[in-house]
Symmetry: C3
């Protein structure tokens, strides 16, 4: 039987891989070279987790102590370079991989924060930060408006829901690896459906023309 | 009588609120949705303080341990959503709230750095970093050139002055909460006046056309 | 005879200076004012090292404890302001100074990470992160696509080579300050030659038009 620590590591590595693919796809769409692809993939895949590890203050972030964390970005850059993902539509594929990374990271981020002793509210918040952080870094360094601010589809809401559920299950002492995967699937499904059907929530304020003041 | 720790908490929460409003107003102007507004408000309001807390290395940043720090961004997003600020001109209102956040954070940032044992020069520098950091994050993630680099008006100078004064008063042992509020008012006044009257300081180098090399 | 710690400090200060000049030159090209120039120079010069120090988790970053670290950005902003570098071509000069900062930081970053007890692979990775980080911050906050993603010339490869060599020499116990300077020169030469002759490596994926999907 697989224990929680191993589950966490495996989910974390898959989350890194999914986010890294999204970074490498963006690199390909922007005509960056293979090294730029590897770097952007690494930044997206590892950035959220490094932020998380800096915030929980438990020593050097995992990405800089366990070399295995470097493997998923390398695989991602290679797959994108070799067109192994058979992508015709970079942007759509990017969003699906991004959704998978989001789904896994809101679970693993919350688990890590809980293990570091954060209270349930803060653990869920850090899960959300971890999940949203990587994609935010990807879009910011590639000079695009982050997905999380795109009013088409929901992004932070499923991540917050997932992080909140994991935190609740942990508080109640009923969390299991299987439950964690179920939550990740739910988050992924909500994100992908929201893109597919163009779900929208109310805007931040009155609609204004952007060139007005 | 209110002690310094309570004063610090209250000023910090107000600073977070002011910066959060600036983030939510930018979100509204850019037609982000209400969740994007809450996230951008949180990033602006809490980002500078999280940077500060990471740098002083005193454990998990306050924003991730005290849930009350989440309240100001929620209130800010709601007020902007409900148009309670009666804004006609997003940009002008944004700059006023940004100035208020800047004024409070150069004071609270320096106080926190001093309490963590930094030397007076470094404490003032960290106060400046805290004050400038939130607005920098806001503009960077929303893909705009940061206010701090806008040659119209002064931004970093009043913040550095405020941080320097607080650090000086702390070194001399004469700092009081009232004095802290007076410094914040001075910083706010200088920033707003500089915008109102379009104060300028010399450019970084020879004026060049941006498309030349 | 100069010891390793002093060598490290001197190389670090020169690296900060070179990166700071690149920041101040970009500020001049974008018509920022002198304070914006000082801030951008400080961010570029000190940002990579602050990231490095946060990651190795050895207390407050050097830039916030040793005021001497503030000197190079001040000198850089003044030199650019006074046109002392005699620049006709901001962009070309910027890239040369950026290359010099890159060359020194991949060496000092790896040395610092090694001294903090990281394993050889992680030490080289952190050296790369330190070297690439400052320039990434510079371009991101100034709202430009980072140099590291520019397919013309190589950027991360020489930095990774330099960091890897230093990490190897340290592991073998044969590192000396002179060897460190030789590695920095090699990295600088590779970067500048790659720009001069327009070296290119394969793209991240199929070349696509950026407005397609």
């Amino acid at each position: 039987m697989i224990d929680t620590a191993t589950t966490l590591l495996i989910l974390d590595l898959f989350g890194i891989f999914f986010f890294a693919v999204s970074g490498c796809l963006l690199a390909a769409r922007r005509n960056f070279d293979i090294v730029g692809s590897l770097l952007l993939g690494s930044l997206v895949g590892l950035g959220g987790g490094v932020m998380r590890d800096l915030i929980i203050d438990q020593g050097v972030p995992l990405a800089f102590t366990k070399p295995i964390y470097l493997l998923p970005p390398v695989v991602a850059a290679l797959l994108v370079f070799l067109h192994a993902l058979g992508v015709q539509r970079y942007r759509r594929t990017l969003l699906v991989f991004d959704a998978a990374g989001l789904a896994l990271f809101c679970v693993t981020g919350t688990l890590t924060a809980h293990a570091a002793g954060l209270n349930p509210v803060s653990a869920a918040l850090l899960g959300l930060t971890t999940a949203v952080g990587g994609g935010l870094l990807r879009d910011v360094v590639a000079n695009e408006v982050p997905q999380v601010f795109n009013p088409r589809g929901v992004y932070a809401i499923p991540a917050l829901l997932g992080a909140g559920l994991v935190s609740l299950f942990l508080s109640l002492g009923v969390f299991t690896p299987v439950l964690g995967c179920a939550v990740a699937l739910l988050v992924f499904a909500l994100r992908v459906l929201s893109l597919r059907y163009g779900w929208r929530i109310p805007l931040a304020g009155r609609t204004v023309s952007t060139n007005g003041d």
